[in-house]
């Protein structure tokens, strides 16, 4: 009762309020808890319940021997009063950067092997006549694979940022929706550029057979590879890009499986073509590579889409 009346008339001069709680003069103050509140404001604002304040007070030396000064029977009652009087105002913790995810050497080796296979796919599946262009395209794929990994890392970094700021999983998914298309689009643009440069170098070194075109360098370079070859290169880029995204999101096993499926399908198709089981379409340069990579990409793309929308993948 005495505490209640004391609190009502609690407007005392500032110099008395600022006095530390262990000062003997505090015993005479009208509202001794106020000084305690000032001294332990951080603890009280952060606390999740009054027991946390009690633990903090006892650690700071305010135990059973001192609570009488604050007109309470025990430290728990004092903590209850502090919990009720101080509004919650927690400080945001400094985010800790997650450590690198440990990746076994087997996965690294496997992904590298799969990548090698996927990039050699156009070479392996090329009909005997079109080896030069296929080799050029395969060489152009190597720097683009680096770009794919970079894009995947950008995607993961963006996702981690969104995980920390989004309120709900639905909001997180909505924010992440454009990220995968943008990452894959950037990577495909890099692939298109490297392929174009490689073909330009090829055109300059080995001019195409037949009448020299006077329409300019650009059409000549673009037409150096057939439409199906360009299409196959794009599908292959998509496959490598999604595999990189999956690997960065902790699904390295699935990424490796997708790449190996593409390799296996390519070799199978080549074997079928050599056996004469496929029609004439199989002799079109790039057709088999596009088909084999397309099958794997059709599996990996939905998986990558699902993983990008799952907050747990970015933890």
């Amino acid at each position: 009762m005495g505490r209640m009346t004391a609190r009502c008339g609690g407007d005392e001069p500032a110099d008395r309020r600022a006095r530390p709680p262990d000062d003997p003069g505090a015993r005479g103050s009208a509202d001794p808890v106020r000084e305690l509140m000032a001294a332990h404001r951080g603890l009280c604002e952060r606390a999740v319940d009054s027991l946390e304040i009690a633990a903090g007070l006892e650690e700071a030396g305010i135990g059973a021997a001192l609570v009488g000064r604050y007109r309470h029977a025990d430290v728990f009652a004092l903590a209850d009063e502090l919990f009720a009087r101080v509004p919650r105002r927690p400080v945001e913790p400094v985010p800790v950067a997650p450590g690198p995810r440990p990746v076994g050497w087997r996965h690294r080796f496997g992904v590298l092997a799969g990548l090698l296979g996927a990039l050699l796919l156009p070479l392996a599946t090329a009909p005997p006549g079109a080896l030069g262009t296929a080799l050029t395209l395969a060489v152009a794929g190597w720097p683009a694979a680096g770009a794919a990994d970079r894009a995947a890392r950008w995607l993961r970094r963006t996702g981690r940022g969104q995980v920390r700021s989004a309120a709900t999983a639905a909001e997180f998914r909505a924010r992440m929706r454009p990220v995968l298309p943008v990452a894959l689009g950037l990577q495909l643009a890099v692939l298109a550029l490297t392929s174009f440069i490689a073909l330009a170098v090829l055109t300059a070194l080995v001019p195409p057979p037949g009448p020299v075109s006077h329409a300019g360098l650009l059409p000549a370079v673009v037409q150096r590879a057939g439409a199906v070859q360009w299409y196959g290169q794009a599908v292959l880029g998509l496959l490598v890009g999604t595999a990189a995204v999956l690997r960065r999101l902790g699904r390295a096993g699935l990424a490796l499986a997708g790449l190996l499926v593409a390799d296996g399908a390519g070799l199978l198709l080549v074997a079928l073509r050599e056996g004469g089981l496929l029609g004439g379409w199989a002799d079109v340069p790039g057709a088999l590579a596009a088909l084999a990579a397309g099958v794997a990409a059709a599996v990996l793309l939905p998986a990558a889409w699902a993983a990008t929308g799952r907050p747990g993948a970015f933890g």
Binding site: R46, G56, G63, A64, V163, S165
Partner: protein
């Protein structure tokens, strides 16, 4: 009697012989102990193989144990139980469902072991978010974000791992075959005992040396978690503590100070018995002759909580009146840079710091006893949650001055001087009084040594537990699970205590 000893250990280092549990096991050779250890090591530390012969271990940190996710039908069952658990944690009106949800999860985990896999799945996170953000949830200081859901989900998964342990069989070697569970320390280590009690009717004793809940509050203060995560986690710890206090056949806190906390957390005073933790140094002889120059010895970790500043302030006052007095501060740094801070403070107070000077810092391990190098042992600590440092000082036979915090009053009793915390003048006056009066010093030292040797020796502690065990099983019905199943009321003293001491023969009877 077969006793299952459940403990939680901080590190995955191989078991160090001579701990409290070892003394208990060695002292009660007539009983058969089985050890169950939860290893809560720092994340990333690899468990160093099996912790010892006959010990079952379970890692509480690190990547989740392997296991397949439950199928769609089972997942619905898991989801229902998990939702009930989260509702009990975040909705103030549904706290009563906590124990039921725990036992339901344990039952599901026993059937297929897919609990950890379920708890890390997207469905579990979705449920957590849904309930946590529902109206009425206790989120006074901020709504949880996506990241909080992930972090809290992982923490809950780690806390609930003991539910999925394969310890609950009743055929040889499981908790079901034990006559009694003895849980040392609270928290997740209680979960197996709760499940064993529900499943097989095995009673359990809960020993807490340093209250688990209080230590969690202090330990998680520096953790990088947002307020909602801490609130959820402490909701879990609080409810687990309350449930374990409700279910425990007996609570044996290490001090009356911890007893107050247990009462506050809802323990029944009739089922609390304070059993002091024994200190093996009780058998050590007292320290020899006093040093020539009057010396105050202070021991502890150099950090604000141990109050070395208050000690220095007090010593500055002592030095003026006791010529030639010295101060020895013994202990490693508890906080980087704090020794330099203390040395600066001593300089400001006009004290000479260094070996052979007035104030000496002694950077030694706390296990080395510094007391015989001093005339009076001083504790200027702001908090003394455990009796052990005080008891070791008393056992040395030196007079002790301590601040009146934590366990100091009950441990020291009349055999030492108590001063109010945070008042260097009072501390200095007590030190001066003792330094000036040799006869009083010796009298207090002898009384302190006698008091500590009586209360904190190994034998009384072991004897207390011998009594506790026998008393518990004598009150507990012999075939609890079977009798409960047939709808018969439990019969106290159905069997004499000797029945339980027979060991192997008793096991045969019970198995048959």
């Amino acid at each position: 009697m077969r006793i299952a000893l459940l403990t939680e250990r901080a590190r995955a280092v191989p078991h160090r012989a001579g701990g409290w549990c070892d003394r208990l096991v060695a002292g009660l050779a007539e009983h058969q102990f089985e050890r169950y250890v939860l290893v809560a090591g720092p994340p990333g530390a690899e468990p160093a193989g099996p912790p010892g012969p006959g010990v079952r271990a379970l890692a509480l940190r690190g990547p989740r144990p392997p296991g397949r996710s439950p199928g769609p039908v089972r997942r619905r069952l898991y989801a229902a139980a998990y939702e009930q658990l989260i509702r009990a944690l975040v909705l103030p009106g549904e706290r009563a469902g906590f124990a039921a949800a725990l036992h339901r999860l344990a039952e599901l985990a026993r059937q297929d072991g897919a609990l950890p896999a379920f708890l890390t799945s997207g469905r579990a996170h979705q449920l957590l978010e849904q309930v946590w953000r529902s109206p009425g949830a206790d989120t006074a200081a901020g709504q949880p974000l996506v990241h909080d859901v992930l972090v809290a989900g992982d923490l809950l998964e780690q806390c609930l791992r003991p539910l999925a342990a394969d310890w609950y069989g009743d055929d040889g070697g499981g908790l079901g075959a034990a006559d009694l569970c003895h849980v040392v320390g609270g928290g997740p280590a209680v979960l197996p005992a709760l499940v064993a009690k529900e499943l097989h009717g095995v009673p359990f004793v809960l020993t807490e040396h340093g209250l688990h809940l209080r230590e969690q509050y202090l330990g998680y203060r520096q953790a990088p978690y947002r307020w909602p995560v801490r609130a959820l986690l402490f909701g879990f710890f609080r409810q687990l503590t309350a449930e374990s206090y409700r279910q425990a056949a007996l609570l044996t806190p290490g001090s009356g100070y911890d007893r107050e906390w247990q009462l506050r957390c809802g323990a029944d005073p009739a089922r609390i018995r304070v059993v002091h933790r024994d200190v093996p140094a009780a058998a050590r002889p007292a320290a020899g002759a006093e040093p020539e120059r009057p010396t105050l010895v202070w021991a502890g970790r150099l950090a604000p909580a141990a109050g070395p500043e208050s000690m220095l302030h007090a010593f500055a006052r002592v030095r003026g009146e006791v010529p030639g007095a010295r101060l020895l501060l013994h202990g490693p740094e508890g906080q980087p840079g704090y020794r330099a801070h203390c040395a600066q403070l001593a300089d400001r107070l006009g004290l000479a710091v260094g070996p052979g000077r007035e104030v000496r810092f002694d950077d030694a391990d706390l296990s080395a006893a510094p007391w015989e190098r001093g005339t009076v042992a001083v504790f200027s600590h702001r908090s003394l949650p455990a009796p052990r440092p005080l008891v070791e000082a008393m056992l040395s036979g030196r007079a002790v001055v301590a601040t009146d915090v934590g366990v100091a009053r009950e441990v020291l009793g009349p055999a030492g001087l108590l001063v109010p915390p945070g008042e260097p003048a009072a501390l200095a006056a007590a030190c001066r009084a003792l330094l000036a009066d040799r006869e009083r010093r010796e009298r207090l030292g002898r009384a302190g040594r006698q008091r500590a040797a009586e209360r904190f020796a190994v034998e009384p502690s072991v004897a207390a537990f011998r009594e506790v065990y026998l008393e518990l099983v004598s009150r507990w019905p012999a075939f609890a699970a079977a009798e409960r199943a047939s709808g018969v009321l439990p019969r106290p003293f159905a069997r004499p205590a000797e029945y339980w001491v027979t060991g192997a023969a008793g096991a045969l009877v019970k198995a048959g």
